[in-house]
């Protein structure tokens, strides 16, 4: 207690201006601006702001300006401004469009099954059963693992010779010959998407379950009194009630999966022959080659695309909501 009292006395003197501090004491409930209050807030925020500005914002901004410069670690003698040359090089590169296509497949192929399975599990988890808590804890635990390590786990399971997935498929009589999953571009894409679905379902389950629990029971009682069937209840009560959460969760996940190179990095490293690169893994490999200018240009293109997507997505989901009500 003594420590805090002394601080009270100290602070105004450190400021050198007593009156505002006194004013704050007489009207403690009103959040009027006073120097003392402002300094207190600033002091509490300062460490967080300092760290984030120095180690996140500064590199991010200085990275953005590299996109407009000739900046290659292999030769730093000429780092002049080159305008949009890096962007032009990007758009002229046919690999860029292949990578964009893969990114679209990766995002859509991951998000749709994640959403459907996650939603189904959430619906079925609403009902109480004996081991529900344990069940939730068990399906939650892929989350404790890093995406990179998940990539490694699935790389081993999809191994063409000794992989357990080929073994299970052939035991089930679905395949005669082992599939070289990660050596063939098409099947490699399927394999990385399967791994990502495995990882991401839980997120949807958690978010949707939380939203479902906020729907009042009366709505369901009313619906069953009106003789509404299962499907009608789902589409006319459940889905509209949690539409905001659903659309926000999907948006966050799209952005996140777009930026999620970890699984691919651990599983294929973008191979075979660049056929499983998404934009972010490609960007990492450009960074590793030392061409920071080109990598930053790619990054800015990603940010722009995600921004445009978010705006359109938010407009689209908002409109639907307005039309319904």
């Amino acid at each position: 207690m003594t420590r805090s009292t002394s601080e009270r006395v100290e602070r105004p003197s450190r400021l050198g201006s007593a009156p505002p501090a006194n004013m704050a004491d007489t009207r403690p409930r009103k959040p009027a601006f006073t120097t003392r209050r402002g300094l207190g807030i600033a002091a509490f925020m300062a460490p967080a702001v300092l760290f984030v500005v120095v180690f996140i914002y500064y590199p991010m901004i200085s990275g953005s300006q590299m996109a407009f410069r000739n900046w290659n670690l292999t030769d730093l003698t000429d780092t002049s401004w080159v305008g949009f040359k890096n962007f032009q090089a990007m758009f002229a590169d046919p690999v860029f469009y292949t990578v964009l296509g893969h990114t679209a497949v990766w995002v859509a192929g991951s998000i749709v099954p994640q959403f459907v399975i996650g939603f189904a599990i959430a619906l079925w988890l609403r009902r109480h059963f004996r081991f529900r808590g344990l069940y939730q804890a068990l399906i939650f635990f892929p989350w404790a693992i890093s995406g990179f390590l998940i990539g490694i786990l699935f790389r081993w399971m999809f191994n063409s010779e000794f992989g357990v997935i080929n073994d299970l498929l052939s035991k089930a009589g679905l395949i005669d010959q082992p599939i070289p999953w990660l050596a063939d571009p098409k099947t490699a894409m399927i394999a990385i998407t399967v791994a990502n679905v495995w990882y991401g379902v839980t997120f949807f389950t958690i978010m949707i379950l939380a939203a479902l629990q906020s729907i009042p029971d009366e709505l369901y009682e009313a619906a069953s009194l009106d003789g509404a069937g299962k499907a009608r209840t789902l589409f006319q009560i459940t889905v509209p009630s949690i539409r905001a959460t659903l659309s926000l969760t999907v948006l966050l996940r799209v952005i996140w999966i777009f930026n999620f190179p970890d699984i691919i990095f651990g599983m294929t490293g973008g191979g075979p022959s660049n056929e499983t690169h998404i934009v972010t893994t490609w960007m990492i490999s450009i960074t590793q080659q030392g061409d920071y200018g080109k990598a930053s240009a790619t990054g800015l293109i990603v940010v722009t695309m995600l921004l445009v997507f978010s705006v359109f997505y938010l407009m689209a989901t908002r409109e639907k909501k307005g039309a319904k009500s």
Binding site: M1, S4, E7, R8, F33, G40, I41, F44, M45, A48, V49, F51, V52, F55, I56, Y57, Y58, P59, M60, S62, G63, M66, L73, I117, I121, W124, R126, R127, Y135, Q136, I139, F140, F141, W143, A144, I145, S146, F148, L149, L153, F154, W156, N159, E161, D167, V201, I206, A210, A211, Y220, T245, L248, T249, I255, G266, M283, A295, V302, V303, L306
Partner: protein
């Protein structure tokens, strides 16, 4: 609460939930079984789902052939220190953001969100150059500083949610009793929030423990590598030794899984509170 389900519906539900549970658990079962086989037995047909003989050779090899103990120690130090400091700093910022109204508040919250949205890889190159100038490349202290910064935005948002769940009246009562605002925070508010704070720390710890790209970029020498960086080295070599790889994977996963199991309820609460409200 929900209308009675038919027997068929019940069977479908249980079958589906059981199937998903098997799918979720299987990869972890498989990596554990692989790690416990005798090194040569991994590459034998037919593939054994329950080996005849268990062995810890893969684990022993990690510590004798590779410096896994060093990596483990590095990860432990970096994740513990960064997780603790980031939690402490975030407590201060989250408290202010939860309890005060001020002009730049929305901007600060937006700034925190933006860090979660923008691909961090755009910052990798410049960060490396900056750290080189500061003499903090290939330095555990440098990595800790960067991890603290990476943890702060989400940790602040999460803790802010927990602060908002505690009624103002609690602090006001303490302040009426003669506590200062600072005293009220430390003597009354923080003890009440202990589970949330522990969850936030665990979340930070696990994120730092799992982090790959920053540590690959910033740490070069073998004695400074964290576990993910070392694993990345394992897969970059031409032939992957799946025996030691799976043992290393199990040793990496077990601590984080134990921590998550301990705090999962609060982590879920922290994750959902923001999104459901917003």
């Amino acid at each position: 609460m929900i209308n009675k389900e038919s027997i068929a519906g019940r069977i479908v539900r249980i079958a589906f939930l059981a199937m998903w549970l098997v799918i979720t658990v299987f990869p972890l079962y498989w990596i554990t079984i692989t790690s416990l086989k005798i090194p040569g037995a991994i590459f034998k047909f037919p593939i054994a789902y329950w080996p005849d003989e268990f062995s810890l050779q893969n684990y022993a090899g990690l510590f004798s052939k590779a410096q896994f103990g060093v990596y483990l120690g590095n990860s432990l130090i970096v994740a513990t220190v960064a997780g603790t400091v980031a939690t402490a700093i975030s407590i201060l910022s989250a408290y202010v953001l939860a309890r005060f109204e001020f002009r730049s508040k929305t901007a600060l919250l937006m700034a925190a969100l933006v860090t979660q949205m923008i691909p961090s890889f755009i910052a990798l190159g410049p960060l490396y150059m900056m750290m080189t100038q500061l003499g903090l490349v290939d330095n555990r202290f440098g990595l800790i500083l960067v991890y603290i910064a990476v943890c702060i935005p989400f940790c602040t948002v999460m803790l802010r949610g927990f602060f908002e769940n505690v009624p103002d009246a609690l602090e006001e009562a303490a302040m009426v009793d003669g506590c200062s605002r600072f005293g009220a925070l430390f003597r009354v508010l923080l003890p009440v929030m202990r589970p949330g704070i522990v969850a936030a720390f665990i979340f930070n710890f696990v994120n730092c423990w799992n982090e790959l790209f920053l540590s690959v970029t910033l740490m070069n020498s073998d004695t400074n590598k964290t576990i993910p960086t070392a694993l990345n080295g394992f897969i970059s070599s031409f032939n992957i030794d799946w025996g030691s790889m799976s043992a290393a994977a199990v040793l990496t996963i077990v601590p984080t899984m134990a921590l998550f199991a301990f705090a999962s309820r609060y982590i879920v609460q922290g994750l959902t509170s923001g999104a459901v409200k917003g």
